[in-house]
Subunit: 419 residues, 2 copies
Amino acid sequence: MTTGPITVDGRRLWESLMELAEIGAYSDARTGLRGVNRLALTDADAEGRRLVIGWLREAGMSVRIDPMGNIIARREGADATAAPVVTGSHLDSVATAGAFDGCLGVLGGLEVVRTLNERRISTRRPVEVVVFTEEEGVRFGTDMLGSAVAAGRIPLQDAHDLIDRDGCTVGGELRRTGFAGEGAACFSPPHAYVECHIEQGPVLAHAGLTVGVVTGVQGISWQEITIHGRAAHAGTTPTELRADAGIAAARIVLHLREMVDSGRYGALRATVGHLAVHPDLTNIVPARAELTVDLRNPDDEQMARAEADLAGYLAELEGQPGITLSTRRMARTSYVPFDAGIQKAIAAAADDHGLAHLSLLSGAGHDAQEMAAICPTAMIFVRGEYDGISHNPREYSTPEACARGIDVLATTLVRLADE
Amino acid sequence: MTTGPITVDGRRLWESLMELAEIGAYSDARTGLRGVNRLALTDADAEGRRLVIGWLREAGMSVRIDPMGNIIARREGADATAAPVVTGSHLDSVATAGAFDGCLGVLGGLEVVRTLNERRISTRRPVEVVVFTEEEGVRFGTDMLGSAVAAGRIPLQDAHDLIDRDGCTVGGELRRTGFAGEGAACFSPPHAYVECHIEQGPVLAHAGLTVGVVTGVQGISWQEITIHGRAAHAGTTPTELRADAGIAAARIVLHLREMVDSGRYGALRATVGHLAVHPDLTNIVPARAELTVDLRNPDDEQMARAEADLAGYLAELEGQPGITLSTRRMARTSYVPFDAGIQKAIAAAADDHGLAHLSLLSGAGHDAQEMAAICPTAMIFVRGEYDGISHNPREYSTPEACARGIDVLATTLVRLADE
C-alpha cells in the first residue's frame, strides 16, 4: 500500500527561508528592495552553508563534505545497504538574487526530514539532502559545477582549477572557506533524485497553478567573446581609420536578437548579460570589448544551428580591418529529458494533495540535469509571482506555494524511499 | 625690425619630456608598451606638477597657483605693465596615454624660456607659461575645465563641485593635492595666447609635414545616457516579456554609426567610449545600461541637427515597453575659429625656420579654445607618427618634430612679446 500524502510545516519552512535570506542580504540602491548576494564560496556563501549544516545536524542527519564542497546530509533508512533517495539544490546565488532560487530545494529537503522525524516516519531507503557547490556559475563561469563533478561529467581537478575575475581558484576558495572535503568526488548512483525549485518563469502563474512537473531542461550554451580593435582619439581619428571594438560588440548583441526574432531557431533565447569596453573612457575609441552570450534551446539540433549562425557572423566581423575576435566556451549542456516514472510519481503525489498541476520544460539549468545522468530524476516547480521574475530582489513565491511544493516533495520522496 | 628665428635646445626639451613621462608610467598588459596614467588631481598628476614647477622656478620664473589649480609661471618683460604673451597646455592625461599630449605645450613653453635666458633675450611684454587643470575631462567629466574657469565660461564653484566616479570633488582633490591656490579665478586678458600641441591625427603625417597652423577647433558634444530596463532570468524569461537595457544601448551605438555614415551631418564624428551594463552577469538580462556619446563637428548647425537626430532616436527607444532613458550633458562647445593675425604670425615663423606647413582644423578640444574667448589665440600642431594615434601608449612624435614645433613657438612668442 502507498503512503498517504504528507503535509509539512509550511510556517517552519518559511521561517528557515527568511532566516537564511538575512545572510548576504543587501538593499537595492534604486528600488530599495531587499536582495541577496551569496556568490559561490564567498564569506557570505560559507556563512549560509554553516547555518544550514547546523539545521541538518539538529534534524539528526549525518553530514559530510565531498572534495567539491558538496554537502551531503543523510537520514538513515531501515535498509542501510539500499541506494538512497536524494533531494537537494544549492545555496549560492547570483549577485542580485532573491530568497528562493536553490534555497527552497535545500530547506525543503530539510523540512521533509523534520516532518518525518516529528511523525516518526521511517523509510526503507536512506533519504539524503544535498547542497551542491556553485550552481549559478556566476563567479567561476561554469554553472551546475558541483553536481557536474558529482555526476562525473567534469573532472574534480578541472573544477578546482577554475578561476574567478580576481584570480581566485575554486580549489583555493574551498580551502579558504573550510569546505574542501574528503572521500570520492563522484556520487555512487542513488535510487532516485527529486529536486523542488521555483519556476523562475511565468508559466505556472499565467496558468493559475501552484506546482508543475518538470519534463526536462533545455540546452544551454555559454561563451565569452573578446573583440580586439584599436584605441584612437575620438575627436581626431577619421571614422574610416577606426577599428571600434564597441561597435563590433553592439553588432553581435543585435545579431543575436535578430536570430531570436527570425524564428529560424525554434524556441531559442539569447542574452548578452556581461558587456564591457576598454579603456572605457568617453573620448577614446574602444580598443577592446568583452561580452558573454547565453543561448538556450529545448532542441539540440536547433541549438547547434544557432551556434553555427553566431560563429559565421563572428567570422564576418573578423573580416573587418583591424578587428580580431576570440571566443571561450564557458558552458554547454544538451537538452536533458527527465525520467517518466519519477514524473508520474510527482504527478500522483500532487493529485493526492489535491493540487492541479501541469507539465512544463525548464528554461533554466538545474543540478537535477546533472543527476539525471546517474539516476532516475525529475523536478517539482513552484509558482513565482510577478511573471516568475528571478535573479532579482523582486523574486517571490508565497508561503502557501512553497509549502505545497514541499508537500509534494515529501510525499514523492517517502514513496520512492519505500520502493 | 622683426626678431630672427630662435632655435631651441631640442635635446633638452626631449629629456624633459622623457623624465616627466616616468611619472604615472605603466606597462601595457597586452602590448608591453610603456604608457602614462596621470588622471587630473591624482597623486601622479600632483607629482608631475611639482616636478615641472621646480623646473619653471629653476628657469627664474615666478610661479603662482590660482583657485582652480592652474599654474601660472611668469618671465618678466621690460614693461611690467604690458599684458603678457601666454603659452601653455596641460599635464593631466587619460588613463592610457603617451608622453606628448599636453606635456609638449607646457615643457615647450619652459624650453622657450630656458632658451631666452641662455641667449639673454629680453622681451617688452612678460611671457607666461600656464599649466591648466583637468584638460582631458576624463576624471571629472568636463574637459578644458581649468581653462574654462580661467576664461570665465565656467564658474569656479561649479568646477569645484564636480564629482568623479568615486565621489571625490574637484575642490576636495585640489586641497588634498595642495593645489587649491589663491587670487582671481579669471585671467585678465593676455596680449595673445599661443599653444603648441601634437596633432593627435593623421593629417600632417599623410602630407609629409612636421608642423601645421591650426585654424580652429571643431565643436564637441558630450553626454551620458542611462537606460533603465528590467532584470530577468536569461533562461526562463520569454523574449517578448524582456526589457533589455543592453539591447537598447547597442541600438544607440549603431544608430550613431549610421548617422556618421549617412553623411547627413557633414564631418560628424561619433564615439561611444564608455559602455557598461548592470548587474553585468552572464545569465541575467541587463536591468540598466550606461554609455557616453562623444560628438564632434566643425559646423555648429550640423552638430545641432545631429544632436536633434540622436534625441529623436532616444525618444523612440523610450517608447518601447519597460525602457526608460535619462541623459546628462557632460560638455558642449561650439566651433571656435582662431585669430587670423596669430595664425599669420605662426605661419611666418614656420617660413623663417624653413618649415613647410599647412593649415588644418583641430579635431580634439584644447585649452586654446577657451583662451580664444579672452584674447587673440591660435595653435601650432606637431606631427604624430602611426597616423597620429594618441590617448594610447603608441602615441609618438619624433625628437626632431617636437624641436621644430617649439622653434616655431619660440619665434612666434618673442615677436608677439615685442609688439
